[in-house]
Amino acid sequence: MKSLETILNECEHLAFDLNFTRAKEWKAGDKNRILVGYLPIYVPREIIHAAKGLPVGIMGAGDRKQIIKGDAYYQSYICHLPRGIIEMALDINLNDFDGFMFPAICDCVRNLSGMFKLSKKGKFQRYFDYPQNFDPFIGGVFYEQEMEKVMDDMYAINKVKVTDDALYQAIELYNVNRNLIEEIYDIRQQYPWRLSAVETYHILRAGITIPVEEHNELLKQVVEHISKERGEPMDNIRVVVSGSFCEQPPIGLIKSIEMAGCYIVDDDFMLGSRWIQGDINRNITPLKALTDAYINQSTFSSAFYDVGNPKGKRLVNLAKKRYADGVIFSAASFCDPALLDRPQMQKECDEAQIPHINFQFHENTGQFKVIKEQAGTFSDSIKLWA
């Protein structure tokens, strides 16, 4: 078993390797293998795995790449994520990728799929339209058809027919993956000092750039390490961070929240890896199982229609489940979905008497002093008066 420090160093490197070296090495191992890049939030990675593909999460360039061409494609009032991604596409970062999936989360990501089409980047550029109807016989059927389109896209490249057996195997692997991630979150709920939010972030983000089998092995070792005592408990408050499900906050921001006296006991940073709650059923046909999981076991986010199951209430429930003292709303600037949800979600928190603060960021924000002061004051006020 590797030491935790070794694992963490590896994960940090993998998480921010914008050339996706490990993924490209994996592809080079067999001529039928393909790389499918996907944007936030969620895609059913199982279908890619079953088609001899590696799903690779493209979470943006963050503060790790200078944006030169990307700014010429986006007006100043559009969020930062797509300009970083188009920069990567126009540069060499995404070379060797066979196709791209753009989940239906907002108009910017939707139109980015068209920009990839016009740029002829990859062999397919698939806008993955999530149904916003959650009736299994209506939205469920539509979702299954959406998955079939992706399978056809992949088949056209490597002629690998997706079999039920391959899908069951993938479902099992990703069930294990999600369970291990949740185990880490559960341990952190009780002992948040054992693994910082930044370390957790690195581990999860690394996972979307490597084969799931390798990630599962890393996760198992992490669970074993943090099942034992590590670090020192601090007099910190416990917070849930909400609103960063697409454009990712810079590491400096997460670190600033922690240094300001907040244990982040839950968040939506790498939400796609935790999208399905619980195991996907292996006792029905695999596509039906993936569909049922999407319809019935999805977590909440601003990108999904929530009438009948409001996300504000679900956020409150999450905060209670994690024994959080407060909620930090941290949304990317110009993120319509997150920012349009915020007032109503804040209202739900008020009604549940959960204190909250909010701020906005860009993925390449470089100044955290104000955020640190704000989070510090929030932490102090809860410690003193809650």
Binding site: A72, Y73, Y74, Q75, Y77, I78, P82, A104, I105, C106, D107, C108, R110, N111, L112, S113, G114, M115, K117, L118, S119, R126, Y127, D129, P131, Q132, N133, D135, F137, I138, G139, V141, F142, Q145, S302, A303, Y305, D306, V307, P310, A331, S333, F334, C335, D336, P337, L339, L340, D341, R342, P343, Q344, Q346, K347, Q360
Partner: protein, 433 residues
Amino acid sequence: MADPKEAIKEKSMIIQKEMLAKQFSDLSKAKELGKKVVYTFVPGNLTELILAFDMLPVYPEINALQSGMRKKSGGYIKDAEKMGYSEDVCTYVKCDIGMMLNGNIGPTGEKLPSPDLLLLSYTGCFTFLKWFENLERLYPGVPVAMLHTPYQEDGKITKEQVDYMVKQLKEEVIPKFEQVTGNIYDPERLSKMLENSVTAEEYWVKILEMAKNKPSPIDAYFAGVYYMGPINTAFRGTDECVEYYKELYKEVNERVKNGLLPVNPEGEMKEERFRLVVEGPPNWTNFREFWKIFYDMGAVIVASTYTKVGGLYDTGFRHNPAEPLESLAKYCMGCYTNLNLPQRVDLIEKYIKEYKADGFLINSIKSCNSFSAGQLMIMRQIEQRTGVPVGFIESDLVDPRYFSYANIKNRLESYFQMLEQRKIILKQEEETV
């Protein structure tokens, strides 16, 4: 010349004004009339179905743009921001919420009724979904009917997508309409209305295509936003709508026969110097000032994409009374903002060529990512494919803080100089040949 403060109106505009006055009067008396009120959106609107159930539609986008034109939107937006809505988000949403906070007074000064149903026709704009989630919280207990319109991802409408929408109409939308109104769905009544829609659509396309004439008898953007009103909102499917477009067609035909140029708020244009295709919605807070920059320079908009947000008919689509629900589904999926980016580029290219435009201009709207994200790439593609000079300006829908008259005027003047220069060069080349 007429007093510039007093806008000159064509006859069709007067007819439309009367139609709108009646609409808002009916809305203000909805409860007395026993009519149920449904709030919904312009893109992918189901007007014929709503009217077939005897409901009255309200379009929050229209309320917002009217508030912008009446200089009310700035205050409404600030009120919504005080409630916690970020400066960064769609100003239509904030304007609508601010208007609601201030008593929901409509453009005619009458109070708009609260909704009995929210019809979330989620077509071509993700923010619609967020908008009605917010309204659902602000109007507790009001049911929401969700109609998810699949995006034209592959640049075509598939049978599976139509089936998905028809199933939603049958099992989600129509049952909610029945529940709210107590009426039963009457397919024959809907088909009858769709027959009217087809007639109006035929006239509408003919009117739009009149702009292929040189000089163009209409401005297909600034005046186009008035012309598109009835067919894109509460009147499609009605006899009045057919009459309006019949009259408008007659009027525009007359203008062609007489070689007349478009009418603007200050009178008739005297010279057509530049023919433009415009992409993106207009600014509403300074609509007349914005328009004036164009007509003062002799620029006529011969085709625009914005007038296709409520339905794209000039590529052949017509509602089909024989297949009413399938036809509504195809209509929704065909609206302009539901086209993928390559389709949008193809359509603009077609407009530039068929309408013999001298230039292509984008008015990029801060509030509207559905339109704006990707426009800079559209601009490059159009430049490469057609060779016409392209221009790019920025403003907002209804937030007056984002309309900078001096900046826009400067940019447009430079752009028009570029067009002028190109005309001279082209003429010289022609003479040389």
